[in-house]
Assembly symmetry: C2
Homo-oligomer: 283 residues x 2
């Protein structure tokens, strides 16, 4: 199969490595000529060009640009496509992306491979990035069944676990477990840093250990990514933030009001609930 990839960063580059190792021909597009040359040199693609016309020959095209570039990339790509060409994306928010791309190209399958590292860019691309990770597909009534099956087949060939859901369901789910944690965690760092006594702040920074390290990790990550999540998944994130604030208020009430048995019950419940989210993961 001829597979096109637009955007040769961590995700696009890692896909190229895997698809080529499965004997597909991979055609890559990056805005930078130097990235195209590096991608060929690293064996990420068979051919590469800054020119989208290269993808006229592709059977399936993976859009791997940042979220904000997906719709414009589609518009620029459409003139080169034949009706049989399947378009799919890897955006981490689905409803606004699906709504922006589907009217432009009906042979489209929304997707979200839930893999990543703290690194980004072509240099971070690696084989087997998607092994045992969720790969979510978000078909609509307009999605051709055969195209959905083709993309699902390719996702499974990366050894991903394929899940299907509606774009809106996807966005609500990831708001909880991916976008809300960033804001929760960032607020923790900002709160600690707000300590006005320099001696106490210095002690806090010195004593911080694994608990703080883990709770603050995603809040200290790439600010552009956090911003983009918030912009694209705003309604779901606002809902999650409001639910979070009301849970926090409950805890504050318990501590302020010395309602110790309520607090113990709440902490026992979270201790029982956490495994429902993380038991499938390496701890």
């Amino acid at each position: 199969m001829k597979i096109g990839i637009v955007g040769l960063g961590l995700i696009g580059g890692s896909m190229g490595l895997d698809f080529r190792s499965h004997q597909h021909t991979v055609l890559g597009v990056s805005r930078q000529q130097t990235t195209c040359e590096q991608a060929i040199a690293r064996g990420v693609v068979d051919e590469a060009s800054p020119d989208l016309s290269l993808l006229a020959a592709a059977d399936v095209i993976f859009l791997c640009t940042p979220l904000h570039a997906l719709a414009a990339t589609t518009a620029a790509l459409v003139p080169y496509l034949s009706t049989a060409t399947i378009l799919t994306d890897v955006g981490s928010v689905k409803q606004p992306i699906v709504e922006a791309i589907e009217p432009q190209w009906s042979n489209f399958v929304g997707g979200h491979p839930m893999a990543g590292t703290t690194e980004s860019g072509l240099d971070a691309a690696q084989p087997d990035l998607f092994v045992n990770r969720a790969y979510v597909l978000t078909p609509t009534e307009a999605t051709p069944a055969e195209s959905l099956e083709t993309v699902a087949h390719l996702a499974r060939s990366l050894q991903s676990q394929v899940y299907y859901c509606q774009p809106a369901e996807h966005d609500r789910a990831v708001a909880w477990i991916s976008h809300l944690p960033v804001m929760v965690s960032a607020s923790l760092i900002a709160a600690c840093q707000s300590e006005l006594d320099p001696d106490v702040l210095n002690l806090a920074q010195t004593f911080a250990s694994s608990g703080f390290r883990d709770t603050s990790r995603v809040g200290g990550g790439n600010p552009e990514l956090g911003l983009m999540m918030a912009q694209y998944n705003r309604p779901c994130l606002v809902r999650s933030l409001q639910a979070y604030r009301s849970q926090l208020n409950q805890i504050i009430e318990c501590v302020e009001g010395e309602k110790w048995s309520d607090l113990e019950q709440l902490l026992s419940q979270t201790s029982r609930d956490r495994p429902k989210f993380v038991d499938n993961l390496q701890k």
Copy 2:
């Protein structure tokens, strides 16, 4: 030196292993006769008994019971002590503990070795638990300088980094980086679990990945520990929780009001601030 340890759990047991390996004689007290026997069999102590009178021979006694038992243990222990006997504790909150013990025994040094694992009890005891960890000592004006030096020397012999501060400063610092994260993280689990659509909840549980795993870790831990932190460090924790809520409100305002440059600035700041807390740790 003859070292007494009351409470043969993770902390007390691990101290016993290290002190014995440095040729000290270790005398252990545990309420349970079986724990005493196991401690001798594991080489954690030289002698053990459920009877505090065993410690009449000790030069320094480490109180390693849970926070709520420290004051009562001291009261029961005092009849057996000679004035030269140094008492020190390992409680994770200092001001209320120091205020409860010092009037009973002036030859006292408040301490907090900042080490631990997710496990507890004698079975979890291990050599070298304290290596490279902070060991905080919180002397007051009443603390004998020589006794402080003796405890600091023993803490350094565990290869800990010894820090000195006031009990109140300690409690404010650990409220930020140890106790607040538990409440922040527990609120996250509770908020996610509050999703009412069972399909979306199921997707959230399925898609949860390393970001959720890390941010939720300390909120899914031992509820008794979380409760005890809140009870003993309540004023500091309330202050930290209120500062946290106001940071969270700022973020919610940014997202609700689409103040994207404010949000980007905030996330850039947390990304710059986090290393001040965690750069000394393994990431």
